[in-house]
């Protein structure tokens, strides 16, 4: 469903519009939240962040002012996640300055270079994960990016959790080998 179709639906039938918005952007908001909250947050914290982000988007949604939904939703989700991360790290007694690079847009050339390097590495990693083929690539992403356990992954892809564990171990081994090959090629 396109953004304009979702916008139209939200105008004419808010409840259906909310559902359409949610279905279209749930994975995106979840990915943004996981990306920032990974580490101090539990699965429940991440879900809370997703819920908070969508509730906030729906409450503040102004059809006349929002032309592209994705950047708007992404920004709200990112801000919510950063705020939650601050709160969680504060609770855990970890002090992270608001000037920390963790919360800062890249400002120096060094940061830009490092980000570009990270981006190349992530691109390579995603490429190699894709080469594993299904369902292994999904298992790896769900486990290592979304931090889901074998039982949750098993339920998602219709597989026993013991099988998920076994396939995951094999896939990691294969992924390591693919990444080593990439290093050698370079």
């Amino acid at each position: 469903m396109t953004d304009s179709e979702i916008t139209e639906l939200m105008k004419n039938s808010p409840q259906q519009g909310h559902r359409a918005l949610f279905d279209e952007y749930y994975s995106y908001v979840y990915a943004i939240s996981v990306n920032i909250l990974r580490g101090p947050a539990s699965q429940e914290d991440i879900e809370e962040c997703v819920i908070d982000a969508f509730a906030s988007v729906i409450k503040k949604f102004d059809i006349s002012s929002v032309t592209a939904l994705k950047p708007f939703i992404g920004t709200v989700a990112k801000n919510k996640a950063i705020s939650m991360r601050r709160s969680l790290t504060a609770k855990a007694g970890i002090i992270i300055s608001i000037d920390s690079e963790e919360f800062r847009e890249p400002a120096s050339d060094e940061c830009i270079d490092r980000n570009a390097e990270n981006s190349v590495m992530t691109e390579l990693l995603l490429q190699r994960i894709k080469e594993l083929g299904e369902p292994d690539s999904t298992i790896i992403i769900q486990k290592y990016f979304y931090e889901r356990n074998a039982k949750e992954i098993g339920r998602m892809i219709g597989m026993k959790h013991a099988t998920v564990r076994m396939r995951c171990a094999r896939a990691v081994k294969k992924l390591r080998s693919l990444l080593e090959d990439s290093d050698k090629e370079e």
Partner: protein, 391 residues
Amino acid sequence: MKKDQLFGRVSDEEAARIADEYPTGDIKHRDRIFREIERRVEDTSASVDEVSGVESYRSRIWGKVLSAAAVFVLVAGAAAGGGYLLLRNGRAGVPVAEFSEISSSVTEVETTEEDTTEEDTTEEQLTKEDLIAKIKNRDYDAYDQLSIKYHTTVNSGASCEHSEARRDRITGNESLIKVWTHTAEYYKDLDDEIIAESGGIDKLAETITKNEMFMYKDLYICVYSDTSSPGPDQYEAFDRSRCDFDKPNIFCDLYSEYIINDDLDNFEVQDITTNVEFIGRDCTQLVMTSDYVLPPAYKDAPITDPSPAKDVTGQGVQKQTLTLTVDNETGFILAAKLVYGENYEEFTVEEILFNEDAALPEDAGYIKNRIAGCIPNCEETAAYDLSQLDE
């Protein structure tokens, strides 16, 4: 390879790409999250839509719906927990509209009779309005974790309910434990046959009835126990969306919430005492009065009397006094006592804890352990999928 070593922080574009290529969450999981989003949006809409002047008014309807739901669950699960039913039913003889009509008539007369200066009245009115607004604007959502331990006494002390409500907004889990006890006085009107079957009034008075309600993820699980019933405790399980005890949150079943949603507007503030300390918190005490229209039977009027509520002669109207102890910081009612005729009802918070101090709702391990020795109360419960407790 540890899971946190594979992915560091990725860019928004990469996160978007992962989301596109590897969507997450099964349908059931997504539905649960969406329901929670809708619930929060609706909560906000309700409080925004019903703004009147500077005070926001909460809908009274959900309180009434909840009462009906509470009655259903209590009847189904705990017959001896009927004391609380009396709390809801004992004074429910007069529709709210009729009640308000009488109340406003009497208030009007009283206001005229009060010969106070304009300045004094204005100053007092502002204070009253501030306090009532504070109570009505109380916000349980302001705390990530909140636990309240309280007891409610009805039937002039004959029935007592000890409860503890816990809420964790981070996980979305909530729990409510209720324990009822009754004095011998409570059972005196029972049929002799039933009393004899139960081993006598004193034996009945020793009965302790307990409902342990767990709202865990999508699950609603309630364990029913009753010391007068031999055999294992029973439990019931169904979809949390069908449960009304947590709508909008677990604190909706507090006696104070019924007062705020059903009765508060009918009372007139008579006296305010500031700087009151209660369970270690700074509070303000309000004494309020109202006139309660007695059902026809109470004033020896024919049951067919077509308009008992219009009787303002005083014969069918009973003065009620409500004393509230209000927490200055939160607006929560920490104590309430309603006196009508020779009867009284009392609500007292014993402990209120916020955020990191709060007692958290019971976790999956506790719930599993609790229901391990219980039997399901029906086939539907026996077949109900409890796998969320294993996740």
